[in-house]
C-alpha cells in the first residue's frame, strides 16, 4: 500500500486552474522529485499534500497514521520574535534535549542549538528546518525547493544529507527542485509538472521524454546531455497546451552528465 496517493487532484484559484487531474502515489522509501517551470503548481501540490490547500476536486489518501515531515521553501522569522534553535525544535510538540540533539546531528546542524534563528546563515537555517521535520520520525519527508538561495556546494551538501537520511531512516522523500542535475542523480522517480503531469518515470526516461525536453530544453543542448540510452519508447500524451512556451532554465541539465557515473 502506498504511503500517500493522489487521485485526480484539481485546484483552482479564482478562475485559474492551477492543478488539473493530478494522480500519483508514493511508496515507502522512494525518492520522488517534482520538476516544472515557475507557476506550474509545484508548491500548490505540496501544500495540498500537507493539508494547507483544499483541493477543488479529487482526493488525497494517506495511509493511516502517516507521519509527514515538512520543510518549507522559505520561512521568514520576524526579527521581533526571539527564537533559539532549541526552542524552535520544540514547536508545536515539546521534545527532550536528547531528541533535539539527535535531530540536529542527523540534519548536519549539530552545534546550533543555542543560536538565535535570525542569526543563522541560509544553509544553517535550512538544516534546522530539516532537523525539525525529522523530529516526528517521518515516513514521508516533503521538501519544497529546500536549497533555494544556497550556493552550489551548499545545496550539494544538503542533498547529500537527504540521501544519507533516506538510507539511515528509510523514509520516503518527495521534493520539488530546480536543480535538475541533482534531481537526476538522486531520484528514483521524476514527475514533470506543468499544471498537469506532463510525464513521469525514472530520471533517464523523463529526461528523454519529448514533454520534458519541451519544458526544459529546446533544441539539442541541455536536454540531450541527459541521454543515457536509446529512446526506445514513446509517450503518447495529448496535452492541450504548448510545452515549448514555458521553456525555462536550460543551463542546468548540461551539468547532469558530469554528475552521473
Amino acid at each position: 500500500m502506498p504511503l500517500i496517493s493522489l487521485q485526480n487532484l484539481s485546484v483552482r484559484f479564482g478562475g485559474n486552474t492551477v492543478l488539473s487531474n493530478v494522480s500519483f502515489a508514493i511508496s515507502a522509501g522512494e525518492i520522488v522529485t517534482i520538476v516544472g517551470p515557475n507557476g506550474s503548481g509545484k508548491s500548490t501540490l505540496l501544500r495540498s499534500i500537507i493539508g494547507a490547500q483544499h483541493p477543488d476536486q479529487g482526493q488525497i489518501k494517506r495511509s493511516p497514521g502517516l507521519r509527514i515531515g515538512y520543510v518549507p521553501q522559505k520561512l521568514h522569522i520576524d526579527p521581533t520574535l526571539p527564537m533559539t534553535v532549541r526552542r524552535f525544535l520544540s514547536l508545536p510538540q515539546r521534545i527532550s534535549d536528547q531528541q533535539a540533539a539527535t535531530a540536529l546531528e542527523q540534519a548536519g546542524a549539530g552545534q546550533l542549538a543555542s543560536r538565535q534563528m535570525v542569526d543563522l546563515s541560509g544553509g544553517q537555517f535550512q538544516r534546522v528546518l530539516l532537523a525539525r521535520a525529522l523530529l516526528c520520525a517521518p515516513q514521508l519527508l516533503i521538501l519544497d525547493e529546500a536549497t533555494q538561495g544556497l550556493d552550489q556546494p551548499g545545496s550539494a551538501g544538503f542533498y547529500q544529507q537527504i540521501e544519507t537520511l533516506r538510507e539511515t531512516l528509510g523514509c520516503a522523500i518527495l521534493m520539488v527542485s530546480h536543480e535538475l542535475h541533482v534531481v537526476m542523480a538522486t531520484s528514483d522517480r521524476v514527475i514533470c509538472l506543468n499544471g498537469h503531469i506532463c510525464c513521469e518515470g525514472e530520471p533517464e526516461q523523463v529526461a528523454s521524454a519529448p514533454e520534458y525536453r519541451a519544458l526544459f530544453g529546446t533544441g539539442t543542448q541541455g536536454a540531450l546531455a541527459l541521454y543515457r540510452h536509446e529512446h526506445n519508447h514513446r509517450h503518447d500524451h495529448s496535452c492541450g497546451h504548448d510545452h515549448g512556451q514555458d521553456a525555462v532554465d536550460q543551463t542546468r541539465p548540461a551539468a547532469a552528465s558530469e554528475t552521473r557515473p
Partner: protein, 276 residues
C-alpha cells in the same frame, strides 16, 4: 479586607496591573505578527460599542466586547482578499472611531464623559469593574496558555502549522477573541486611544533582552505591571492624567532597554542586529 478594597488607589493599582498582565503577553503576538494596526482598529471601534451599550441601556463592557469582536473578525476576514492591509486598517480604525463619536452625540438624555472613554478613568474603577477586569485578564491568560504552542507555530508559518495538523485560522480566531477581551477590559484603564500602547510598548521594551518567546512574554508582563504601578504613583504625585502617564512610563522602559541593547551591541564590537 473590605476596607482595603475600598481605597480607590488600591483599586486603581489592581485594575492597572490586571490589564497590563494580560495585555503584555498578547501584545507580543501583536508585535510578532505585525498586527499593530489591528489592535488600533479594534480599540477604536470600541467607542461605537460604548455608544450602542449606553443607547440600549446595556452594560458598557458587553457593548465594547461585542463591537470589538465584530471589528476584529471583520478585519481578519477582509485581510488576504486583495486589499492593501495598512490602507484597509487605517480606513476601518479611523472611520469606526468617527462613527462612534458621532453615535455618542446622538445619545439623548445621557450625559457621558467622553474623555473618560478616550483616555480612561482608572481612578473611578469600581469593585465590579475590578472583577470584570481580572476575570477578563484571567480568561485571556488562560487562552494564551492553553494555545501557546499552536499560536507560536501558526505565528511562524501557517504552512508549518498545517503540516503539524493545526489550523492557523483557528489560532487567528483565538487571538482575535483575546484582543477583543483586552480592549473591553482596558478601556476603563487607559481608554480607547491608548490601548494599543499598552499592548505594544511593554512587548517592544522586553524584546532586547529576551532569548525565547516565553521570556519575552514574561518580561513584557513585568514591564507592563511596573509601568501601571509607577504611572499611577506618578500621576498621583504630579496630578497628571493616569492612563497617559502609565503609557509614558512604559515608553521610558522602552527607551531604557533599547539604549541598553545598543550599548551592549557596541561593547560586543558587533553591528546592531536588524530589528525591523
Amino acid at each position: 479586607m473590605i476596607s482595603l478594597f475600598d481605597s480607590f488607589l488600591l483599586r486603581a493599582a489592581l485594575a492597572g496591573t490586571g490589564v497590563a498582565v494580560a495585555a503584555a503577553p498578547l501584545g507580543c503576538f501583536v508585535v510578532w505578527r505585525r498586527m499593530a494596526y489591528f489592535g488600533d482598529a479594534t480599540a477604536h471601534a470600541s467607542i461605537l460599542g460604548v455608544a450602542l451599550a449606553l443607547g440600549f441601556q446595556a452594560p458598557v463592557f458587553a457593548g465594547v466586547l461585542i463591537v470589538s469582536l465584530l471589528m476584529a473578525t471583520a478585519v481578519s476576514s477582509l485581510s488576504g482578499r486583495g486589499f492593501a492591509m495598512d490602507t484597509l486598517l487605517g480606513v476601518l480604525a479611523h472611520s469606526s472611531l468617527a462613527f462612534g463619536l458621532v453615535a455618542v452625540s446622538f445619545l439623548q438624555g445621557i450625559r457621558i464623559d467622553l474623555m473618560a472613554y478616550l483616555f480612561g478613568d482608572i481612578l473611578a474603577v469600581s469593585r465590579i469593574d475590578l472583577m470584570v477586569i481580572w476575570g477578563g485578564a484571567a480568561l485571556v491568560l488562560l487562552l494564551l496558555w492553553a494555545r501557546w504552542s499552536a499560536l507560536l507555530t501558526a505565528t511562524l508559518s501557517s504552512d508549518l502549522a498545517y503540516a503539524a495538523g493545526l489550523n492557523p485560522k483557528r489560532e487567528q480566531l483565538v487571538l482575535t477573541i483575546a484582543l477583543a477581551l483586552v480592549v473591553a477590559v482596558a478601556i476603563k484603564v487607559v481608554g480607547v486611544l491608548l490601548i494599543s500602547a499598552l499592548l505594544l510598548i511593554p512587548a517592544a521594551a522586553a524584546r532586547p533582552f529576551a532569548a525565547t518567546p516565553e521570556r519575552m512574554a514574561f518580561a513584557a508582563a513585568i514591564i507592563g505591571m511596573l509601568s501601571a504601578l509607577a504611572g499611577l504613583q506618578l500621576s498621583f504625585l504630579l496630578d497628571t492624567p493616569t492612563g497617559p502617564t502609565i503609557v509614558c512610563v512604559a515608553a521610558g522602559f522602552f527607551a531604557l532597554t533599547s539604549l541598553g541593547d545598543m550599548i551592549r551591541q557596541q561593547l560586543l564590537m558587533k553591528g546592531p542586529r536588524p530589528r525591523h
